[in-house]
């Protein structure tokens, strides 16, 4: 009865087992879409970008929304855990603050109540705010498919904008993070046109920790969002930081290298030139911030 400029019709199925999901994916192929928070899928369906015949809600599968932390073993986050759940979880905040910071930076509070970290990853958007942190923390993804479960390093998951390594019939069930090196520190910085609701124009995640195997005594990971077809590790910048003594000069050079790694394009949200310049600014700021944390921890 209600007229809504809205969704085309589709069948909604609330899946209760992983096997059921695999069966539906195999049966319907492209005609099936998995849904967790729906903050992206439903908008794209309304816009007519995707037209699934069935929408399979997988957030009620056992363990899908669970966050488990075990000293030594690390952290496991169910794919359907919401951004607010992750951002507020005591263990995440205590042991993986970079992840909490990234989750808390997504859109608005209301959206974070629905949006999930797993969904954020599976969209494979270069602008996804949690992806840089997950790559910086060297997370691994748990995928479930016709041949059972397999694990994949997160960096191997993203093939291009909207393109993932998911095989037909396969879906993401969880993210796993190793126990982090002691004395580590992280920072996520982003810029958008407004403070909430805009996609990031630039996102930079920095993660650093003492490492005796490098000549600088530290290892940093720098991951850039929104400035390339996929979220990007700035490996040359990382190399600078591994080989030269920490300090402003090194940080400036690393920031320069990070900027050089970025390949953004002009669009309505901002020019490529500005985005590149901001990669340098945010990387430098992030490095200074992380270094302050590291130095403070040492004392």
């Amino acid at each position: 009865m209600l007229a809504r400029p809205g969704l085309p019709s589709f069948d909604y199925i609330r899946a209760s087992t992983a096997q059921e999901v695999v069966r539906l994916l195999k049966e319907h192929g492209e005609g099936a879409r998995l849904m967790m928070g729906g903050t992206d899928l439903l908008v794209r369906m309304r816009q007519g970008d995707v037209r699934p015949k069935i929408v399979v809600d997988v957030k009620h599968l056992p363990g899908m929304s669970e966050i488990l932390y075990e000293e030594g073993a690390g952290l496991t986050i169910g794919a359907a855990a919401t951004m607010n759940q992750v951002a507020k979880h005591p263990a995440v905040r205590a042991h993986y603050p970079l992840l909490a910071e990234a989750a808390n930076s997504v859109a608005s509070y209301q959206v974070r109540n629905r949006a999930t970290v797993g969904g954020n990853l599976c969209n494979a958007s270069p602008c996804a705010d949690t992806t840089p942190a997950i790559l910086a923390l060297e997370g691994r993804l748990v995928l479930y498919g016709p041949n059972g479960e397999r694990e994949l390093p997160a960096k191997e998951f993203f093939l291009g904008p909207g393109q993932t390594a998911l095989q037909p019939g396969e879906f993401l069930t969880a993210m796993r993070f190793p126990q982090l090196p002691s004395g580590s520190a992280g920072k996520y910085l982003k810029l958008g046109r407004s403070k909430a609701g805009d996609l990031s124009l630039v996102g930079v995640a920095i993660f650093g920790f003492p490492d005796e195997t490098t000549s600088s005594g530290y290892r940093f990971r720098i991951v850039l969002g929104s400035v390339a077809p996929v979220v990007l590790r700035a490996l040359e910048a990382e190399q600078v930081l591994a080989s030269q003594p920490p300090g402003d000069e090194t940080f400036a050079l690393a920031a320069q290298r990070a900027m050089e790694a970025a390949t953004p394009i002009d669009d309505v949200r901002g020019s490529a030139v500005y985005q590149k310049a901001m990669v340098r600014t945010l990387t430098l700021r992030g490095l200074r911030d992380v270094w302050e944390q590291l130095a403070g921890r040492k004392e």
Partner: protein
């Protein structure tokens, strides 16, 4: 302050809104209703041919309505230059060319996509400065030029004025087109009522004028058309033009069946008019002690494809472009020009924000050049009681600009030594403080017929138990029904809760004009007060129920003299002064609006809570205009089609602190001394923000929005980047 007047009573629509009981336009339904979907032009300027046969053949399609179905295929708020459905030529991508009515929304959409349209492109012109040149592509074949209207003011001798000046500031300003982005896109239902009238139930800003325009297009007598309004979640001028009302009426009248339409956000952005983009060249001169001697202003505004309210918007901008100041010598020339952009019309401020933007930045630059404190410079020149305007007539009594300026500077700690700058939060940030003043008419201007009528009905035996106020004034979220109930309660000496505002139905309530021009507190307030006074007299004479209708007529205004601009433009003005505090990130260019002080002379306050709500909303809207909102059209095509592309400020962007200072200079004609405030709140913060950015960085920006990228680039250019 009375028992009810001046009190922050609970809004009389609050409970219905928070419980979801209130039906907004999209919530309205009728049994057996059909659904409609519109087809929009895909080209900014083209001849076209259309084949609807395939769409008509779809099972479940009741009709495909096009230009040939409309008896008089024209409408418009001021004059009808826009077709209901375009016939053979489209002039913008906001032009509707057909509407499918079907059994379900899905069928309507499917059939709409089966309509075949062949376009033959015509030359496109999108810059009004190009469109006004001879030889530019003609947008309306029957009009010799794309210049829709020009106005001018001539007062004194500007050459002499500039010769007397010790300092002259001259600059060019640009403000882009702006989207209203109100809550909930356009929606409504249409049907034939029990008495056979074509009825539209929707939301808008002037039901009686909707009725007039619908009757005109359908070639029906007005009493055969009925318009009912439900409250809207916001309008800001964007619901002033007809949107869904006319096509709903047309389809209901043709098919004799109820139907519903809901526009998507994309359709809303495409289908309703926008705030005008303005180009302003402004020159001001003053003596070294800060006395303004002359102003010369040239204005070119982008009308888009159709007139909408362009003519009065231009007239307002021409009048207000000299600011709330005494200027002995004035030349103003303004014109508004057709282009192939989306049409432009009413939006909160109606030409005032653009005029105020230019003149206030000019005053700030003048102060810098003269080495005079910007507040002091303004104080030396502001209008006072008895001042003559550029139109050579005296400003109406109740001039509060000086008081707002004194109040806002004192509250914010701005002394003779200048403003107090807050400390920056980071080493790479710098703070700045900026000031602007503004003025805006209350009520219609330049001789446009102005009136508001109200019927008051008093029920009870010994005492008045219930008062019903019937008035054709649209509640669009601003809290109008609350303040009208307060005025009624005060006048009748009854509790606020005993006043009921009748549903806005043109078959029941009298016309009170549009929800625009910040006019309802003044105009409808006077109508309610007058009707209640007369009904109370009848009650005291023993009439049960006591019913009286009253029409309030304000002093007459007159149009510009075509040569000199001489006229009595307005019967009342609202005045304001605002101060913006910003923090500029020197490494990213990001500008954060940290605090705002807003002093408003809205006359006597009827409800401090709704008034402060207006201030808060206006401030954030102006923040968006100055810093964030960037509507992009490229060669006539919309690049910012939805709210993820066209951004508006969120609550996270709003300043942490908006300090409202209510200055209550009574309007001698306003009801209980009230005047109006709706538009004044948004018209002056943009220049204050840009003044503050200059204070922080030494850089003047002359166009908005000022985006982080622009700031960083300018910082690099001037070398003030750290």
């Amino acid at each position: 302050m009375g028992k009810v007047l001046g009190q922050p009573v609970v809004r009389n629509d609050a409970l219905d809104k928070v419980t979801g009981r209130l039906k907004y336009p999209g919530d309205l339904n009728m049994p057996g209703q059909l659904y409609a979907k519109m087809l929009w032009s895909k080209r900014p300027h083209a001849r076209f041919q259309m084949d609807t046969s395939e769409a008509e053949a779809v099972s479940g399609v009741m009709a495909v309505l096009t230009a040939k179905d409309v008896p008089r295929n024209e409408f418009g708020l001021i004059f009808p230059d826009q077709p209901v459905f375009n016939f053979d030529v489209v002039r913008s991508v906001g032009d509707p060319i057909a509407m499918v009515v079907a059994e379900t929304e899905k069928i309507a959409a499917l059939a709409r996509d089966l309509i075949r349209v062949d376009y033959e492109d015509l030359p496109v012109v999108t810059d009004p400065r190009e469109a006004m040149k001879p030889g530019a592509p003609v947008i309306h074949e029957k009009k010799p030029s794309n210049i829709l209207k020009s106005y001018r003011i001539r007062k004194g001798d500007v050459q002499k004025g500039f010769a007397e000046a010790d300092a002259i500031v001259e600059d060019d300003y640009f403000m882009p087109l702006t989207e209203h982005a109100f809550l909930q896109p356009e929606a409504g239902i249409g049907y034939i009522d029990d008495e056979g009238r074509v009825t539209v139930h929707s939301a808008g800003q002037w039901a009686h004028d909707d009725r007039r325009q619908i009757a005109h297009a359908l070639d029906l007598p007005e009493d055969q058309v009925r318009v009912i309004y439900t409250p809207a979640g916001g309008a800001f001028g964007g619901r002033e033009d007809l949107s869904v009302q006319l096509v709903l009426a047309l389809a209901a009248w043709k098919l004799k069946r109820p139907l519903k339409i809901v526009w998507s956000r994309e359709e809303s952005i495409r289908g309703h008019h926008k705030r005008h983009a303005f180009y302003i060249h402004h020159k001001v001169g003053a003596t070294k002690d800060g006395k303004i001697t002359a102003m010369e202003v040239e204005i070119v505004a982008d009308c888009g494809a159709y007139a909408s309210s362009s003519t009065p918007v231009l007239a307002n901008a021409v009048l207000l472009s000299t600011g709330p100041y005494r200027v002995p010598n004035v030349n103003v020339d303004g014109c508004v020009v057709y282009t192939n952009n989306l049409r432009t019309g009413a939006m909160r401020g109606f030409g005032a924000p653009q005029a105020v933007f230019a003149v206030e930045l000019q005053l700030s630059k003048l102060a810098e050049k003269l080495g005079i404190d910007p507040a002091t410079l303004r104080l030396k020149n502001v209008l006072v009681e008895g001042s003559k305007l550029a139109t050579n007539t005296v400003v109406p009594a109740g001039v509060g600009i000086r008081q707002t300026l004194l109040e806002v500077t004192e509250t914010s700690g701005w002394s003779d030594q200048g403003p107090q700058r807050p400390p920056a939060h980071a080493p790479h940030a710098r703070t700045g403080v900026g000031l602007a003043c503004g003025w805006k008419n209350v009520g219609y201007s330049f001789g446009f017929p102005e009136q508001a009528s109200c019927t008051a009905e008093l029920y009870g035996e010994q005492h008045i138990e219930r008062a019903v106020i019937k008035i054709g004034a649209a509640e669009v979220g601003q809290g109008l029904n609350t303040i009208l109930a307060q005025i009624a309660a005060e006048t009748l000496h009854i509790p606020y809760e005993a006043v009921e505002i009748a549903e806005l139905d043109t078959s029941v309530v009298p016309d009170a004009g549009s929800s625009s021009a910040s006019r309802h507190a003044f105009m409808s307030g006077n109508a309610v007060k007058g009707a209640c006074e007369r009904a109370l007299e009848a009650w005291q004479r023993g009439e049960r129920p006591a019913m009286m209708t009253y029409q309030y007529l304000p002093p007459k205004t007159t149009p510009f003299d075509p040569q000199t601009g001489e006229c009595y433009p307005n019967f009342s003005y609202g005045y304001a002064s605002q101060i913006a505090e910003v923090e500029v990130d020197l490494e990213t260019g990001d500008v954060a609006l940290t605090r705002v002080f807003a002093a408003h002379d809205a006359g006597k306050t009827i409800n401090p809570q709704t008034l402060e709500g207006q201030v808060d909303g206006g401030v954030v809207m102006a923040q968006g205009w100055a810093l964030i909102e960037d509507f992009i059209q490229q060669d006539g095509y919309i690049k910012t089609r939805r709210l993820s592309e066209y951004l508006i400020p969120t609550s996270m962007d709003a300043p942490r602190d908006i300090v409202s200072c209510l200055v209550e200079v009574a309007d001698p004609l306003g009801p209980y001394g009230a005047r109006g405030v709706g538009e004044m709140t948004m018209m002056l913060l943009a220049p204050a923000i840009l003044d503050a950015i200059h204070d922080a960085t030494g850089i003047w920006f002359n166009r908005i929005p000022v985006k982080a990228e622009d700031v960083l680039l300018a910082l690099k250019r001037t070398g003030s980047q750290r």
